[in-house]
């Protein structure tokens, strides 16, 4: 029957194709898995624009099931340093030094040095964007100092340094101490015209001890400044994301103060366009828990609580205003995504604004915080 025969022909052709070879088959052990990459500025002569350091996993040195057979940690990864003219060039050169093909599918993090960030990362990210293998979930960080120092760290708590870094960031984000910034987020915020990006900063507290140290503020694809950890907390509060329980010292009267732990519950931005100026009202809602009360006060006294609440709210407002002023005048960077909101909700205004950073600098902000003390801990007093 003609049907059957043609069907068999089709099947045969398919089968033949399967035998012609597997182009992409590359076994797990036939790859060099890069776990963390770091980019530094290069000062080693002509034609050298960047130094890319890569932490590559050594197969088999990381035991499954956690037995410790005496392998020293230093042996779980190898750090390779490649000076090159650009990102693609560095990949090629690194490949020349390795036996297996480099595979960045398991790359967990990219660390940029501050110097490199301040110079501008546009070209590097253009390269990244075109890479199909890129995980957009890569964590991004800026290193105070050189990136390769971060990569050379061998924290004692974890076999794989990359995982240590990644879980550190992960945990901070879950706890609300840092905003989520992965490569994807960075790219999004950089492309959108109404907002700017921030990136967590890593500092080396010791040769093997990286720690989080605030946020780096970008304007476009160039770093323009830093935020301290306290300012980071304020930033988080302004976004309504604060879950971490930052502690505020509230002064009630000259001898009496209280410490409350503050949790953000939401931020509402109200925008207005008045006579060519953007006016933003930020309404913050926060919960807090009383941690310490100086003697002589009663925690269950409503008036005391009210004082505490108002004190805390005032502190939040002040710090928020300070941060915004810093952003407007020192950095000129809108990391609060106000511009995007303007674009979304006031399209007429957005069309009339030629340059958002300038409009941002001239915008008027007012913050209204509401703090409520929800818990007083285990003591009723």
């Amino acid at each position: 029957m003609p049907h059957r025969r043609s069907r068999r022909v089709a099947l045969l052709l398919t089968l033949i194709l399967f035998l012609t070879g597997c182009w992409d088959r590359r076994e797990l052990e036939e790859r060099s898995n890069v776990l963390v990459a770091g980019v530094d500025v290069c000062d080693e002569g002509e034609g050298c624009e960047m130094v890319v350091t890569r932490q590559i996993a050594i197969p088999g040195q990381i035991p499954l099931g956690g037995e410790r057979s005496g392998t020293r940690q230093a042996d779980t990864v190898v750090v390779m340093r490649t000076p090159a003219a650009n990102a693609a060039d560095s990949l090629a050169r690194a490949q020349a030094d390795l036996n297996w093909k480099i595979h960045i599918g398991h790359n967990r993090m990219i660390v940029l040095s501050e110097a490199f960030a301040r110079r501008g990362v546009a070209q590097y990210f253009d390269y990244l964007r075109r890479l199909p293998e890129l995980r957009r979930l890569l964590w991004l960080a800026v290193a105070e100092g050189r990136a390769e120092d971060v990569l050379k760290a061998r924290p004692a708590l974890e076999d794989v340094p990359a995982l240590y870094l990644a879980s550190m960031l992960d945990d901070a984000i879950k706890g609300g101490r840092l905003p989520q910034v992965n490569v994807g987020d960075f790219m999004i915020k950089t492309s959108n015209r109404g907002e700017e990006a921030v990136v967590p900063i890593l500092r080396m507290a010791g040769p093997d001890q990286p720690e989080l140290a605030g946020l780096a503020v970008f304007c476009g694809s160039r770093m323009v400044g830093k935020l301290t950890p306290e300012e980071t907390a304020t930033f988080q509060e302004l976004q309504g994301r604060r879950k971490g329980g930052e502690q505020l010292e509230v002064t009630l009267s000259p001898k009496q103060n209280a410490t409350v732990s503050v949790y953000g519950r939401g931020a509402v931005y109200r925008l207005q366009w008045v006579q060519g100026q953007v006016r933003v009202q930020i309404a913050l809602e926060l919960e807090s828990e009383l941690i310490r009360l100086s003697p002589g006060q009663t925690g269950s006294d409503l008036r005391t609580l009210e004082l505490i609440e108002r004190g805390a709210a005032k502190m939040v407002e002040e710090r928020g205003a300070a941060l915004i002023r810093k952003l407007q005048h020192e950095f000129g960077a809108d990391i609060l995504s106000v511009g995007e909101r303007v674009r979304a909700y006031l399209p007429g205004a957005w069309a009339a604004i030629p340059d958002w950073p300038a409009a941002f600098a001239g915008a008027k902000f007012s913050i209204d915080a509401q703090v409520s003390v929800r818990r007083t801990g285990m003591s009723m007093d």
Binding site: G21, C22, L28, P59, I62, P63, H103, A162
Partner: protein, 596 residues
């Protein structure tokens, strides 16, 4: 008057076949029912009414006689000689000649030793004929009683008729006048009574042969459920069906298949439930079989199935009687084959291959969960290895980092690519499985367990396979054992290999294409007109009640629509029995408080 008739008949030429009655109507399946005749002289006349199921078999079936087409002669000696020649002096052919008391006629019993029950023959056949002379004389003087319409096997010859009426004590006695018919009867275990001067013989079934007892089939054991499985005798099997399905509309139609084996094949269905088109189609297929011998139901399965080239079975088989009956109730057709305890159930669809009767005996939550496990096992056994190969060889970024690096370490010492490893291990598992079937029961389990462990361990040590591969392959194989239907499990195991190959060449893309091809193939299969992938494909919500999960028994009100049954309602309304909860039995012990 009687003597005149006798002389007329006896005076007839030898070898002249007296006018034959209609072939005897079939009685319901009794143990000693007469066997059906392929009628030489007549073609398909219809049966008589009242539910007797006479079916004319075309001459294609059961015509194993090369000789013996002629009728019996009036001379006993000639008849015996002819029989002797037909059977070729067989060692187990017994002739027992005697004289009929009171008539002084020579007669002979012919039977195959080993097939008949001797005491019965003695008591019910020989004794009356040899000892009850007076009765015989009286009987012979009577006019032969007229037959009733639909009466089974009324003898035509007056002497035989009277003997049948008064003397031969047996439930089913028929007359045969043609050698081929008589030989058929003898071969089936009947005793033939030949009388001198009578050109016909009585066939008296008095069978007794060795049979296996009814026990639980070893390959389909359940934790909970009846333990009666089919045996090799089709009559016992029919009785098992009868005992579970006591509905007169259960039809059992018998055919003879196989030129030399003349195997009894019975088609069973419930008349007002099964779709007549399906039954007709099956009947036509069975009738159309022309084969040398049928030893097992598998022979039939292979000839009548719809798609011979598909690895997937379109006909279910089982040894369990309860499973057969459950399927009958849903409107399916069961085919019993003499000589094998395995019966066929058709039409069959894919969803049946992971269902067991126990699903219905247990409560629905449990049944659903257990069935879910089985379905997962089914998918596992098909795709797990290939997915593993695809992940390791092509898409290692899908694995968590720590895990990936660790596995890479495990694989670093292995020289072969994952595909080769997978093939090797799977092949080994198949060989082990096949070998384990043939091992004696005593050593079997030990050797297979130890063998698998040792081989696995040794292979890992030698660096031929990585430890993870061993685990994956073991899981896959175990998964395939969880599939209740043996034929389907094998099909899955076979199909697994091309998918592994696809995974090894194109990664997950290959796996998907292979799976798509598989689904397309499955979708194109039909089992006696029913699409194979019902109820997934022509999706019917009523049928969905019983596929991946099982809803409570009391809400399965309708039969599966896929079979287009005649009587779609199982139960007219939900019959969950809500008892009275308050019997006043709670509280402290002591005399219960009176009901208020």
């Amino acid at each position: 008057m009687w003597k005149v008739l006798k002389m007329l008949l006896f005076g007839g030429a030898p070898n002249e076949a007296p006018p034959r009655p209609d072939p005897p109507a079939r009685t319901r399946a009794e143990r000693n029912a007469p066997v059906p005749r392929p009628s030489i002289n007549q073609d398909g006349a219809n049966d008589s009414g009242n539910g007797s199921d006479v079916r004319k078999v075309t001459p294609a079936i059961g015509r194993g006689r090369q000789n013996g087409g002629g009728g019996l002669s009036t001379d006993l000696g000639e008849n015996l000689e002819a029989l002797q020649k037909i059977f070729g002096n067989s060692a187990d052919l017994v002739f027992r000649t005697f004289t009929i008391d009171g008539l002084n006629l020579r007669a002979a019993l012919v039977y195959l030793d080993g097939l008949v029950e001797n005491p019965g023959v003695n008591d019910f056949l020989l004794r009356p004929l040899m000892q009850r002379g007076n009765q015989i004389r009286l009987a012979v003087e009577q006019s032969p009683a007229p037959g009733y319409p639909g009466e089974a096997g009324a003898a035509r010859h007056p002497l035989l008729r009277n003997l049948q009426q008064f003397l031969v004590i047996n439930t089913a006695v028929t007359e045969r006048a043609v050698f081929s018919d008589l030989v058929d009867e003898i071969i089936s275990g009947s005793t033939a009574l030949l009388i001198d001067t009578v050109p016909a013989a009585l066939s008296v079934p008095q069978r007794g042969y060795e049979e296996r007892g009814v026990q639980e089939p070893p390959t389909e054991a359940l934790v909970r459920g009846p333990r009666d499985g089919f045996v090799e005798s089709v009559r016992i099997n029919m009785s098992l069906l009868r005992r579970k399905l006591r509905d007169p509309s259960l039809r059992l139609e018998m055919f003879r298949v196989g030129r030399r084996t003349n195997t009894d094949v019975v088609i069973c269905y419930v008349e007002d439930v099964a779709n007549p088109k399906i039954v007709d189609e099956i009947r036509t297929r069975i009738k159309g079989i022309d084969i040398d011998g049928v030893l097992e139901s598998g022979y039939l399965e292979q000839i009548i199935e719809d798609h011979h080239f598909s690895p997937f079975p379109q006909i279910q088989n089982t040894e369990r009687a309860d499973r057969a009956v459950a399927n009958l109730l849903e409107g399916r057709v069961v085919i019993l084959v003499d000589g094998t305890p395995v019966c066929l159930i058709l039409p069959s669809v894919f969803s049946q291959f992971y269902q067991v009767p126990e699903d219905y005996y247990e409560r629905f939550l449990i049944a659903t969960m257990v069935r879910g496990i089985r379905v997962i096992a089914l998918f596992f056994s098909l795709t797990f290895t290939s997915l593993y190969v695809a992940l390791i060889s092509f898409h290692s970024e899908m694995l968590p980092t720590k895990f990936a690096v660790a596995v890479a370490g495990g694989r670093a010492g292995v020289p072969f690519p994952s595909v080769a490893e997978a093939f090797f291990m799977e092949l080994t598992m198949e060989i082990l499985r096949e070998a384990a079937l043939r091992l004696p029961k005593a050593i079997g389990p030990t050797v297979s367990i130890v063998g698998a462990l040792v081989i696995g361990e040794a292979a890992v040590r030698a660096g031929i396979v990585s430890p993870l591969m061993v685990i994956v392959v073991a899981l896959t194989s175990i998964g395939s054992f969880a599939v209740p239907s043996y034929s389907a499990a094998i099909a899955l195991r076979i199909v697994k290999f091309p998918i592994i190959l696809a995974a090894g060449t194109f990664g997950i893309y290959g796996v998907m294409l292979a799976v798509i091809g598989l689904v397309v193939h499955l979708a194109s299969l039909k089992s006696v007109g029913i699409p194979y992938l019902t109820p997934f494909a022509p999706a019917r919500s009523t049928d969905a009640k019983d596929t991946l999960f099982r809803v409570p028994l009391w809400s399965m009100n309708r039969r599966p629509a896929l079979l287009r049954t005649g009587d779609p309602t199982r139960m007219p309304h939900t019959t969950k029995v809500l008892g009275d909860e308050n019997l006043g039995l709670e509280g402290e012990s002591g005399p219960g408080k009176p009901e208020r």
